[in-house]
Structure formats: C-alpha cells, structure tokens
Symmetry: C2
Subunit: 216 residues, 2 copies
DNA sequence: ACAGATATTAGAATCTGTTCTAGTTTGCCA
DNA sequence: TGGCAAACTAGAACAGATTCTAATATCTGT
C-alpha cells in the first residue's frame, strides 16, 4: 500500500526542497504555472467537499471531478488521500500564521500568549467542524511526519518566548511547547467527540499552559 | 456508514451497562457463555493477526476465518473494524492495570510514579510494535469515546495522588493527569513514526510530568 | 417436543481508495 | 517542423471494509 511521502504533491522532475509545501509557487515556466493552478484547484475542491461532509464526502473520484481532472491526475499530484488532506491542513495553518502576524497575541505572560494562539486556532477550526474533524483525525493518523505538530510547536515558542527561533530553543523548551501542542490536539479531538465545550478546552489549556510555559 | 457505538460487542438483548467492556463475563445462561467464548476467540484472533502485520493484516475476513465464525457473525459482535480494535486495546489496558497492581510504582514523588507507569506502558507497547501502532492510531481515530484516555488518566491519578479516586478528583487534577496522558499518546505516535527513541520519550515525559504533577 | 425468535452461515453485492492500461495532448527543443 | 518525453484522460480492474440475502441452526418458553 502506498503511504504519504515527503514528495507530496510534487509532480515529477520538480526541483523542490522538502520543506516547501507548494510546488514552486513562483515557478516561471508555463508548465509549472499551470501545474500550480491545477494543484490549487484540487486542494480547493477537496476543502470544499470536506467542509461539507467531512472526509467521507471528500471522495477521490468526486474531488477529481470537481477539480476537472482525471482520477489518475489527482493521484499524480497527491499519491494518497492522506496527502491531499495534509495539503488542505497546510492551507489552514497558513491562515493561522498570517492571522497571528496581523494581530499578535497581546497577553502579558508567555503562557497567556500561548493560550491566545491555541484558542484562536480552536475558534478557526470550530467554524468548519466537519473539515476540522476530517483534518485533525487524518493528520494524527498519518503514517509519516506531517509539518503540523512542528509548525504549531514553533508558533507557540515564538509567541510565548519572545520570538524565539525554534531552531535555537533548548531541548526543554521544545519539549514544553510540544507538550502543550499535544494537549491541545487531544482536547480538540475530545471536542470533536462531543466531550468538551469550548470553555472547557480553554480552562484546561490555561491550566496546562500555566504549568508548562510560565517560566519559558 | 456504521460508526463505533457504546453497544460495542454487545450482542442484542444483552442487559449490560455501558461501562462494562466484556459481555457479561460471568454470564449464567448457556447462550451468554457461548457468546463470551465466541467473542474471546474473535478478539484473540484479531490480536494475533495485528501483532504480526498491524491493522493491515487484521482483515475482517481473515479474523472471521481464524476465529471460525462467519463474516456476518463477526460484524454482529463488532459492528466495525474499529470496534474490534477497541476491544483488543481494552485487553492491553487490563494487562497494564494488573501489572501496576502486582508491582506498584515505587518512586517517592507523584510525578515520578506517573513517569514509571507511562514508561512501563511504553515498554509494553514496544514489545509488539505493529500491534501498538494499529491500536494507538485506531483509538485516536475512533469516532466516539473509548475508555482509553479516561482509564489512563484514572490510573495516573491513582498512582500519583495516593490512590485518589478519579471521581473525587478536582477539575484541575483531572485536567493535569489528562494532559500528561495526552502528551504520552502523542509521544508514542511520534515514536511509531520513528521520530522519537525510548529515551527521548522518557526525557520529555519527565519534563512534562515534573511541571504538571509535582504538587498534585 | 413444538413454535417462534434469535443467531449463524456462506456467499453475493456494494462502496470507495488505489492501481493499471491504452490512447491522446502538450511542452520542449534540435 | 518533427518527434520525444512527460502529463493527461477515460475507464477498467483490484482490494478490503461493510452490507445484504436466503437458508439453517440453536434457543427459549410452554
């Protein structure tokens, strides 16, 4: 069985680094431009379907149809459904990051700023519960690394420790921010299962953040 | 599509509470006894298959065959593959709990005892990596509540806060033990992805446990 | 021991992710 | 411009989970 790889959504012969999520967005040849368009249409179609009926509604045949490509082409861009899901999530995280940039968390404490970020992300996901459900679950399931956890951990480090570059953080700092991110993901899952309200999540995240990040 | 429900593995007309995992193990009628046997055989067959090739190898047809029941019967006992996985996990947690009872963690600090428990569980899971992978992922994926998180949280509370009954714990205590459990699950996932060694997990769990449980 | 209810069975059928095939189109370039 | 390589397409084929069916087998109560 095919499992998600680092070459996600990288059409063959695309000279792209492993940390780049989109296939050469600033590509210059006609081919790479049209490829980028096609990829975008696919992801949009997938997101639109998922935001309705969740992963179930996001069927590969349907996505291909909506995006106006053949099934085989869809599979060329995204070797598995999971790869497609990962791409959709990537877009969501982009949104969160730019939102943070536009309006940085204002709390005076590190742990408060982390809570700000996580609850803002929570609200964002709550707006599209079906999508959120599909995405969170799929990501956790993913066989291999997804940029997800690390990106969130980095975001938390930056907002809570005064712009600290994750690459420069101590092992302990990474562990603490990563832990908070883990807790948030699990709380989100509980919410999707109907076992947490927004307020409960906030309370629990605050409790954990206080202990984990207060002296970051 | 059928999703896991509270009636998991409860053959019709079985007067069983929602917190009970096995169908009336001490049942008295010939029927409930034979049902129990059948269920047991199914779970054993499933576990055996999963401990080899993971979820992939645990195909419903194969499980049915090994357990000597028809596919339809398997589906009567476990309405979905996930339900079957949940049952297998239940057995694993039983093992952990009895192991804790036999040899309680001896560390002098609450956080140390919690680490003991989690690392013991980690070692147990590492012995059957394929099985562990299947189980952890599937549990996280489960649509609805599984006893998993709560059982682990309860276990942590009991060992770290001097036998504290989870039903009597404060909201904060529950949040803290639950958070540690969440972190552990995510670390386990990272290990399954090959991104953590046992030692790294131990270190990170210690760091988190210190902050979260030191004054439980 | 009989009747109705429930459980079981073998196997076909359905659904969706994934792979494969054969033929067509497109971009590049000598 | 001719032609190769890569991308694309329609659609068939395959795999494994889940559902459905019709026929039996097993219980249970009386």
């Amino acid at each position: 069985m095919r499992t998600p790889q680092a070459d996600v959504a990288t059409p063959p012969a695309d000279p792209e680094g492993p940390t780049e999520h989109h296939p050469a967005p600033g590509g210059n040849s006609a081919r790479s431009r049209s490829q980028h368009q096609r990829r975008k249409r696919i992801v949009q179609a997938a997101a639109a379907l998922a935001s309705r009926g969740g992963v179930e509604a996001m069927q590969m045949r349907t996505v291909a149809e909506r995006a106006g490509v053949a099934l085989g082409t869809l599979y060329r861009y995204f070797p598995s459904k999971m790869d497609l899901v990962v791409a959709v999530v990537g877009e969501e995280i982009d949104l969160l990051e730019s939102s943070i940039q536009r309006r940085p968390p204002s709390s005076p404490t590190p742990s408060g700023r982390a809570v700000d970020v996580l609850m803002r992300a929570t609200r964002g996901l709550m707006r599209e519960p079906e999508l959120a459900d599909a995405l969170i679950r799929s990501l956790i399931l993913a066989e291999v690394e997804t940029p997800f956890g690390d990106r969130m951990t980095g975001l938390l480090l930056r907002v809570s420790a005064g712009g600290l570059d994750p690459a420069r953080a101590s092992e302990e700092q990474l562990a603490l921010a990563g832990s908070l991110s883990s807790i948030w993901v699990q709380e989100l899952l509980e919410m999707l299962r109907g076992r947490r309200t927004y307020d409960q999540i906030q309370r629990r995240i605050e409790i954990a953040s206080d202990r984990l990040l207060s002296d970051l």
